[in-house]
């Protein structure tokens, strides 16, 4: 198993750092899948993560100047690691001015992702900072847990309102209730609702637009759907808040698929990064 990669462009480095920062705000630990073309940060949606699933996909060529991977076996040319993204984030933060950042898989007292940053100095000699980030190697027999999630058979798909507005509203709602209902229809309307013995609050978003998904099974179901009817799902408000807290950059596209009473599937697309986040319904 071998992995070495290098970033020399400052813009790429900043962008990669922002992505890792976002991931570190979403989860304490996750899986990092390294394949010849892509990197993936994955949460499998199991009980351990509170049922929340995450799939963040980066195209390696958009970030790394050099990228060499030798997977666990010729027919399984990938590496699967369990990482604590905050550690990677911290290491990247100290490397922001680096002329060059190398990341490689090493074996110190345990397997590590080693980050080596060459920092500029006033003299001609560079200062080198090395971070050893401990990781766990995930054996191949467990890889099936971390496959790309299928697009759920959603009832409604809708573009999200500005994330900042959503975040402000959800932050306040969290003071009032532990659970939130998100509902949306094919008329571009979305409501966020909380209701307790003391108070009920509903925020109405209009004219959001609905993404025109292609001619597949889900769209077939949606096509015959009354555009006024809302699909709704009730979730733990902290999970939605956590998703909104993590967003550092305005995505080029942000949308949400709702499977009535089952799941909220959030999708953020940036130029070279896509992030999917699954929040399960609570009773």
């Amino acid at each position: 198993m071998k992995f070495r990669a290098k970033i020399i462009d400052v813009g790429c480095l900043n962008h990669f750092t922002r992505v890792v920062n976002t991931i570190s705000k979403l989860t304490k630990t996750c899986i990092l899948r390294l394949t010849p073309n892509n990197l993936y940060f994955v949460l499998s949606g199991k009980v351990a993560s509170g049922g929340v699933g995450m799939w963040c996909e980066l195209s390696q060529a958009n970030f790394f100047d050099e990228y060499q991977l030798e997977g666990v076996a010729p027919d399984a040319n990938e590496i699967c690691l369990e990482v604590t993204p905050e550690n990677l984030s911290r290491a990247l933060r100290t490397s922001q001015n680096a002329k060059c950042v190398k990341i490689k898989l090493t074996k110190k007292h345990c397997p590590c992702l080693t980050l080596v940053a060459e920092l500029p100095t006033l003299s001609s000699v560079s200062r080198v900072v090395t971070h050893d980030i401990p990781v766990d190697v995930i054996p191949r027999r467990l890889w099936h847990d971390f496959k790309e999630p299928r697009m759920p058979d959603f009832d409604v798909s809708i573009y999200l309102p500005p994330l900042k507005t959503m975040k402000n509203v959800v932050d306040r709602m969290k003071n009032l209730s532990n659970f939130l209902v998100m509902e949306a229809n094919l008329n571009g309307e979305m409501n966020l609702k909380i209701e307790t013995d003391l108070v009920s609050v509903t925020t109405h978003f209009k004219d959001l637009g609905n993404p025109p998904w292609g001619d597949d099974g889900s769209q077939g179901r949606s096509r015959s759907r009354d555009p006024e009817v809302m699909a709704h799902t009730r979730v733990d408000i902290r999970k939605l808040q956590q998703f909104l807290m993590g967003q550092q950059v305005n995505p080029s596209k942000a949308m949400c698929n709702i499977v009535h009473k089952r799941i909220i599937h959030l999708i953020l697309l940036h130029e070279d990064v896509s992030l999917q986040y699954f929040i399960p319904a609570v009773a």
């Binding site: 306040r172 209701e195 003391l198 108070v199 009920s200 609050v201 925020t203 109405h204």
Partner: protein
């Protein structure tokens, strides 16, 4: 009946409707008296009075005159109810607490009378939030029987320097002692904490003293824990009047200018601490 299924026609049955183009003109002043969960609202054609009390020894009132509102319609002489103030504030600030220049949240507050929730419509940038907050029967606010004819000592100060003093007050002191006198030290704030005793003196002819009317020397102590919330009102204010009566009851009145420069008042009444020192 769940709040969310009440019909739209109740909009015709309101006893109180108040609208603001900028909700901060209400939320900021309410923040200055939020030290307990419950607040008593009393609306009259003159405007809104919101009262918060603590252990029958402290009362804070915020006054927002009808003229501050873009619309203030009341169908009865007096409309009263009680709500959870922290819930109300979370609703008023639903779009976030900070200001973005040029963006204001508009508010329309409606109340249909006894047994109905307080309904808020908040709008910012085309997004509308509707809140329905349960109300209770209002308690009768305590009458501290503080009347201006019984005032022994009164000063009006510019808030700036009092803000400094209050931010430095020794919080390990259980009491804040206020001395007012026609002679030295004129107006003194004292604390007795773990690090020792501290005194803040404001002479009667100092620049910040706008009015000085002290008729007799009085020293009174007030529980620090009761007065601490008043610092929020002080922070918002530009002027404060400090008055004591013959019983040693304290009245603090704060002149607050809102975002649009309009004036509102906040007042605090506090009972003196009964445990007087032996010296």
């Amino acid at each position: 009946m769940p709040l969310s299924t009440q019909s739209q026609t109740e909009g015709d049955n309101y006893v109180l409707v108040a609208s603001l183009d900028n909700v901060r003109n209400l939320s900021n002043i309410l923040k200055a008296i939020t030290f307990k969960d419950h607040a008593i609202f009393n609306a009259t054609p003159n405007g809104l009075k919101v009262t918060v009390e603590d252990s029958k020894c402290l009362q804070a009132n915020a006054f927002i005159q009808a003229e501050i509102f873009q619309e203030f319609t009341i169908k009865e002489d007096s409309v009263g109810f009680q709500v959870n103030l922290t819930v109300l504030l979370d609703c008023l600030t639903i779009f976030g607490g900070s200001t973005v220049p040029g963006v204001a949240t508009a508010l329309r507050m409606c109340y249909n009378g006894y047994g109905y929730p307080l309904t808020l419509f908040l709008e910012e940038g085309g997004v509308v939030t509707v809140c329905k907050i349960n109300t209770q029967e209002p308690e009768e606010p305590i009458d501290f029987e503080f009347c201006s004819t019984d005032v022994t000592n009164k000063v009006i100060l510019q808030s700036e320097s009092l803000k400094e003093a209050f931010s430095e007050l020794d919080m390990t002191s259980e009491v804040l002692q206020i001395t007012m006198s026609p002679s030295q030290p004129y107006f003194r704030l004292s604390t007795f904490g773990n690090s020792g005793n501290a005194h803040y003196d404001y002479p009667k002819d100092s620049d910040i003293m706008e009015l000085f009317q002290c008729t007799k020397t009085q020293t009174n102590r007030y529980k620090m824990s009761l007065l601490k919330p008043s610092t929020k009102a002080l922070a918002l204010s530009c002027k404060v009047s400090v008055r004591t009566d013959s019983r040693g009851f304290l009245s603090l009145q704060y002149l607050v200018r809102n975002d649009d420069g309009q004036i509102c008042f906040v007042e605090y009444y506090c009972c003196p601490d009964e445990e007087v020192e032996e010296e």
